[in-house]
């Protein structure tokens, strides 16, 4: 707590912000106030409307109604633009760094704002460096203006980004800094450095809106908390006296049962995939089994290590340690091809890693099966066409024909075809990363049915998702991954999306 907040004037006032996407009301008239000089955490789970609200503040989306007021200057929320948000004094530091690691700290501070130039439009480096020096001192960053930014620690790099956003504010601290998951990619010691810096800035009067998933950080640093759920403003409360469980309860809307479930008896068949002590990158030690005929979910927040885990099993990332067993035999795939030959299939998180957009639907469906058409010195395109027609039917892909360009299909149909590309190989183990991300409801239902059919035929499926409702509905068992480890498991009666959210949050950040 900074303690500098009590009785601070209102710096930012949101009034009845409304936003709908089609039939979905993402924000149902959200109003709250942020006081000057406080750190105000903005919390909410999946679908809470938190992301939408930040995008409206940044001018990326226009709201359907409501207003934004910064220190008495009022803006209709229907008419926000990035320039208007900037003029109001809203400053954003996003989750993805927008800095230039190879360039110097001074250059990073000047880019986007402009360099001091002399009569010949030449950069006056001495002035630039002196100003950088002053900014670094003001923000308490231990760095030399001439150092390349990449040589600094991760927390310092974020602080330079914050300093760049705030260096030109007119008063000492009139601007409002919106930090969107600034710690998502920081290791734990760096998080502490950054949080200490934020506390100092707030103590000096800086107003900060802090968006995060990590509740420990909220409790450590925030003065007040606003919670959104399903587009409604649930509460804006002081952080003092709040407990972790109370926060989770606000976010999820149910009371917390903090007892972890025991992993029960296995009613499925033999173990198809066994992972023991797998480590590497963000994965810090995973033990996991998936049985034949079973769909196991992998619930985790951004940065939990879920995607890296799948890529390691598929041979696309090299683990530092650990054992993989497939049907009891140890495998160590060093390339995707070796994993494929062992009977593993993998659908990556983003379609841009799977789709050959300018090739045909037929070529996309057979991308992992080309050698099967290579007989007698040529590719048998007629057989390929016949198979394509059969697969289009089997996987309910809506397309004019095998020769259509893949990129012209909708996201849902592309995803169905990509799933078909792998399921036609009858894999032993199917790894899915966000299988329905950006897919409409109709296609979603068909994808779920397809996965279930594959499992009924004896495949083992491991599906990673941040959509906990999806996991609760689809999976037989869900493992919760956090900080690169499996921290809990839920099954049977425990498999509610609320319960999964509780588990993911309760263990989030505990590294």
């Amino acid at each position: 707590m900074t303690g500098a907040t009590a009785g601070g004037a209102v710096a930012l006032r949101l009034h009845e912000i409304e936003k709908s996407f089609g039939q979905t009301r993402a924000l149902k008239g959200v109003s709250f106030e942020v006081k000057g000089g406080e750190i105000h955490a903005l919390l909410g789970g999946n679908g809470s409307g938190k992301s939408t609200l930040v995008k409206i503040l940044a001018g990326v989306y226009n709201a359907d109604g409501g207003s934004i007021e910064v220190r008495g200057h009022r803006l209709r929320a229907e008419a926000t633009t990035p320039a208007a948000a900037q003029a109001l004094g809203l400053r954003f530091v996003h989750q993805q760094p927008s800095t230039f690691p190879d360039m110097s700290v001074a250059e990073n501070l000047s880019l986007g704002r402009g360099f001091e130039t002399g009569v010949g439009r030449n950069i006056r480096w001495r002035t630039v460096r002196a100003r950088a020096r002053a900014v670094l001192d003001r923000f308490g960053i231990d760095a030399d203006p001439g150092q390349p930014l990449g040589a600094l620690g991760a927390a310092e790099q974020t602080m330079v980004e914050i300093a760049r956003a705030l260096q030109d504010q007119e008063g000492e601290s009139d601007d409002i800094l919106v930090l969107d998951e600034p710690t998502a990619s920081l290791p734990a010691p760096e998080v502490k450095i950054l949080l200490d810096a934020l506390r100092r800035y707030a103590a000096d009067g800086q107003t900060i809106v802090y968006v995060t998933h990590r509740l420990e950080e909220v409790l450590a640093v925030a003065d007040r908390v606003t919670v959104l759920r399903d587009g409604d403003h649930i509460a804006t409360v002081p952080c003092e006296g709040l407990t972790h469980d109370a926060l989770v309860e606000l976010i999820v809307g149910r009371s917390v049962d903090s007892v972890f479930p025991e992993s029960g008896g296995e009613r499925h068949k033999n173990v198809a995939l066994e992972v023991r002590g797998l480590r590497g990158g963000p994965v810090t030690g995973v033990d996991l089994t998936v049985r034949s005929g079973e769909i196991v979910g992998l619930a985790g927040l951004v940065g939990s290590g879920r995607s890296s885990l799948l890529r390691m099993i598929f041979g696309d990332l090299r683990p530092d340690a650990g054992v993989l067993e497939l049907d009891g035999a140890v495998i160590a795939p060093r390339t995707p091809l070796q994993a494929m030959n062992a009977g593993i299939a993998y659908v990556p998180e983003t379609r841009s890693d799977a789709a050959f957009a300018d090739m045909t639907l037929a070529e996309n469906l057979s991308a992992a099966s080309v050698p099967s058409y290579w007989r007698g010195g040529r590719l048998h395109s007629r057989a390929e066409r016949a198979d394509t027609l059969r697969l289009i039917e089997a996987f309910a892909v809506k397309a004019a024909g095998p020769g259509i360009a893949f990129g012209t299909l909708s996201g849902g149909n592309q995803q169905k075809a990509i799933l078909g590309r792998w399921l036609r190989r009858d894999p032993r183990v199917l790894l899915l990363d966000e299988p329905t991300h950006g897919v409409d409801v109709g296609a979603r239902i068909e994808i779920y049915a397809t996965i279930r059919r594959a499992v009924d035929a004896g495949a083992a499926v491991l599906v990673a998702s941040s959509d906990f409702e999806e996991l609760a509905g689809l999976c037989d068992r869900v493992a919760v991954i956090s900080g690169g480890r499996i921290v809990a498991e839920a099954k049977g009666a425990e498999l509610g999306s609320d319960r999964l959210q509780q588990l993911a949050y309760t263990n989030g950040g505990e590294q």
Binding site: G47, P336, D353, A355, A357, D358, A400, G401, G438
Partner: protein, 348 residues
């Protein structure tokens, strides 16, 4: 944040999805799109025919242009540039540029000439030419896949080094004492068809087979379309890139031997003039036959489109520099058109 909330996610999907009602949209593009697809595919061939007819009836060229000798000259002279355009096509399919095709041709031409002039047999000279090209391809491939040098830089560098080697080896002089049996092949016709043209057709068929009817070709197109997706369907992307440069080098080497036969001498400057027209044709290939996709038929059409235009303008009395305009504009048009067709196909 961005991955967390389903509502903005759903909006992002609407943004990525060009056509909300897929079924209807695909049906539309199948009926009217078929006509457009055909128009795209055969616009350049039709233009080639139109230009040929134009010069055949234009008073200033109607005597000379449609004559048998002129047709034989056009057809015979394009074989060498045609083969190195096909060479450049192979790496281009997997999105890599080979700027060394012309220099490789020059090196092969000089070295096969020097073994011929020192008394080696023709088959030995051919093997030497192709092997030299393959060696250049191996160097390019290693630089790109092992050392991680960008293909444009790597092949530009090898092209400059090769030019130095050629000047050093020849002292700037052409090698002229070539056996008559070799030069006879280069200028002879079979049933009125220049033999070099027959060689071009054979190479074109071989490259067509490689790209369209083997897994290797399919993999190259996949790699060109989306490298990370290619990796995740189990392709060894580095090996494919390496092999494409070796194939390109060997074809360029073969073109060098053919150039020697055609011109009857090996000039140290010969290679430089071929690289840009060959790359222009390789690019322009995506604007014909299979729109949005670099392809063999498109290369052949593009080569002869530029050649017919140049020949006609030349016979009509246009200054020599006009052919530079034609080549330059063809290159730009090729890139622009293939980009436009590529966008159309993926709906972006």
């Amino acid at each position: 944040m961005s991955t967390a909330d389903p509502v903005p996610g759903a909006v992002a999907d609407a943004g990525q999805t060009p056509l909300p009602d897929v079924g209807a949209a695909s049906r539309r593009s199948s009926s009217s799109g078929g006509v457009i697809r055909h128009a795209e595919a055969y616009a350049l061939p039709a233009l080639l025919v139109a230009v040929a007819i134009l010069f055949s009836v234009l008073p200033s060229t109607s005597d000379t242009f449609p004559s048998m000798p002129n047709v034989q000259t056009i057809v015979g002279n394009q074989s060498v540039v045609g083969i190195i355009a096909l060479a450049a096509l192979i790496p281009l399919v997997c999105n890599q540029f080979d700027l060394s095709v012309g220099a490789t041709l020059g090196l092969s031409s000089i070295l096969s000439a020097s073994v011929l002039s020192s008394g080696a047999s023709i088959p030995v000279a051919i093997v030497v030419g192709i092997a030299v090209g393959g060696a250049v391809g191996v160097v390019n491939g290693l630089l790109i896949t092992r050392a991680g040098v960008n293909a444009v830089i790597a092949t530009l560098g090898t092209a400059i080094v090769i030019h130095g080697i050629v000047t050093w080896k020849t002292g700037g002089e052409s090698i002229v004492d070539i056996p008559a049996s070799v030069t006879n092949f280069g200028s002879a016709n079979t049933l009125g068809v220049p033999r070099t043209f027959v060689a071009l057709l054979l190479v074109a068929l071989a490259v067509y087979y490689l790209l369209e009817h083997t897994p290797f070709g399919r993999y190259l197109y996949s790699l060109g379309s989306n490298p990370s997706a290619a990796r995740l369907v189990g392709l060894n992307t580095n090996r494919l890139v390496f092999q494409s440069f070796v194939a390109s080098g060997m074809l360029s080497g073969a073109a060098g031997v053919l150039q020697l036969a055609r011109s009857g001498s090996a000039s140290p400057q010969v290679g430089e003039n071929f690289t840009l027209p060959a790359l222009a044709a390789a690019f322009l290939s995506a604007a014909a036959i299979r729109p949005g996709r670099f392809n063999v038929g498109g290369v052949i059409i593009a080569i002869f489109f530029v050649a017919v235009l140049n020949s006609g303008l030349n016979l009509a009395g246009a200054a020599a520099y006009v052919s530079d305009f034609v080549n330059g504009i063809a290159l730009i048009a090729g890139v622009a058109l293939s980009a436009a067709f590529g966008r159309g196909r993926t709906g972006q």
